[in-house]
Amino acid sequence: MICMVMKMSNKYQELMNQKNEIMKTSIGLDYNKYEIEGIGFDFEYMMNDQGYDIEKIVKIQNENMIGNTPLVELKNITNYARKYAKKGYGARIFLKDEAANISGSFKARRAVLAVNQAKELGFKGIIAATSGNYGAAVAALAAKAGLKCIIVQECFDSRNVSQPEILEKARKCEAYGAEVVQLSVGPELFYQFLKLIGETGYFNASLYSPYGVKGIETLGHEIAEELMEKIGKYPEVVVVTNAGGGNLTGTARGLKDAGATETLVIGASVNLYGLHMASDIDFNRKSFTTGHTGFGIPFAVFPDRSDVPRSAARPLRYMDKYVMVNQGSVFFMTEALAILEGMERGPAGNTSLAAAFSLAQTMKDNEIIVVQETEYTGAGKHILPQLSFARKNGVELKFGDPRKEIPGQNIIIPQDGSYLCHQNIDLNDLKKTYLKRYKDMVLSSLDFKYLSEELRIDIEEVKELMK
């Protein structure tokens, strides 16, 4: 038996040792090219070296029913927020209705470049590890491009129970003709993912490749250009739901590229503090499978934890502020969006809307705050089944002060609109955590330069935060 165990863990380790080689072949990208001496790499070189400029991306997206989504002014929700703002405060809230993209979310912007790249490089199929909207996006675009597709999901706990939202995503992927491989909770997903890549030779549509991030730059562009055209200025703030960091990185890059260099980019995540992402028990005690702090924080402080050697999603390079809202507040705003604006959308996409409702109250009434996404809704992926599921799994549902919510134990819906408020996450704390990894290393001036770019602070501040 012991021999067996040893043999098995060797198998695990053997495959893990081939990680870089498998990844290189399956993305068709040699990351060594972008490495620089010491700890860093040339991020801009990597991003700009893939042959995708903004015109080419727009063209590919237009041909695939992606982009040019409606930018809607939420007048009723703006008025709602103003009820709780000081006189002269309460920014105009705009919403980019990304649910209008093929497959129902902004993720199509990311998937289409991966699919295009896979097709150009002559791959027969494409594979992605995701339980979320990205899977549906890859599956839909693979179908359109005539590629085979496998989506690998973390899906079940040890009781074989799955989040309704993940089951819906599996259905949607299958509706586009993809194969869905479902796994139980745990980081070994990565082992199975690598194994499938090795076995099939498919293209890895990693969310963290340059394609996965560059595709979102058009979203930033559209927001900047449309507001300039309609209102005559760029927005003061864009709020972005933050998980792996790609959405924020891409949107911010697009805004800056379009000229909106003064626009503040604020990340927003659902507060899931206290829940362990690899826990078989916690897995089904949360109501959000992405867009939460359980991804947002680890990926911000260590972007290269992803499935590629160098992640293109680097949120600390772009984030001006990071806030979180509780689960109950997101459900609150999901309902408000439906009954005040006539827009029924999926809860997870409304994380940044909940944050914007509260953030708008801190801004002047002639300022503009843009919520940059929505997502489709349907069975499983909706306030009803998600609250119903939470209740079945022993999570208490009540009204009250959302700041008192304890993730995994209860969901507290604000007892009225005045209770809905965001909480700040200290970016300096995140930067300190980011730097911990280098604490015992002798760093060169090149290394400090890289860290200063990564954290968007000067070298002296880097040194100060490392103390």
Partner: protein, 100 residues
């Protein structure tokens, strides 16, 4: 008996608890790491047999036969009275007494 060619769902244990990755939370380390896949049955079989299937992308997988012609079971869930209460809160916040 389930006929060859039927669309089915199988389950396979990838790692027993002892073989799992290190540094897992205790509750995860205690349970096996499993995989579920759907595909067409290669031979006639009974439920819970170890079978081979051909998946929609043409791959072969072997595992325990758990379900034939698997349906989608997710739904809009149970009635949640709090949602009606929440709608009321929002309407009252916005329109106050006019709402009555």
């Amino acid at each position: 008996m389930i006929d060859k060619g039927t669309y089915v769902r199988i389950r396979k244990t990838i790692f027993e608890p002892k073989e799992r990755s290190k540094n897992l939370p205790k509750e995860t380390a205690l349970v096996p790491f499993k995989m579920w896949v759907k595909g067409f049955l290669e031979e006639d079989a009974d439920l819970f047999d170890i079978v081979t299937i051909k998946t929609i992308t043409g791959r072969y997988e072997t595992g325990r036969l758990k379900e034939a012609t698997p349906p989608y079971k997710h739904s809009y869930g149970d009635f949640i009275p709090e949602i009606l209460e929440l709608r009321d809160i929002i309407k009252n916040d916005m329109y106050g007494d006019e709402n009555e």
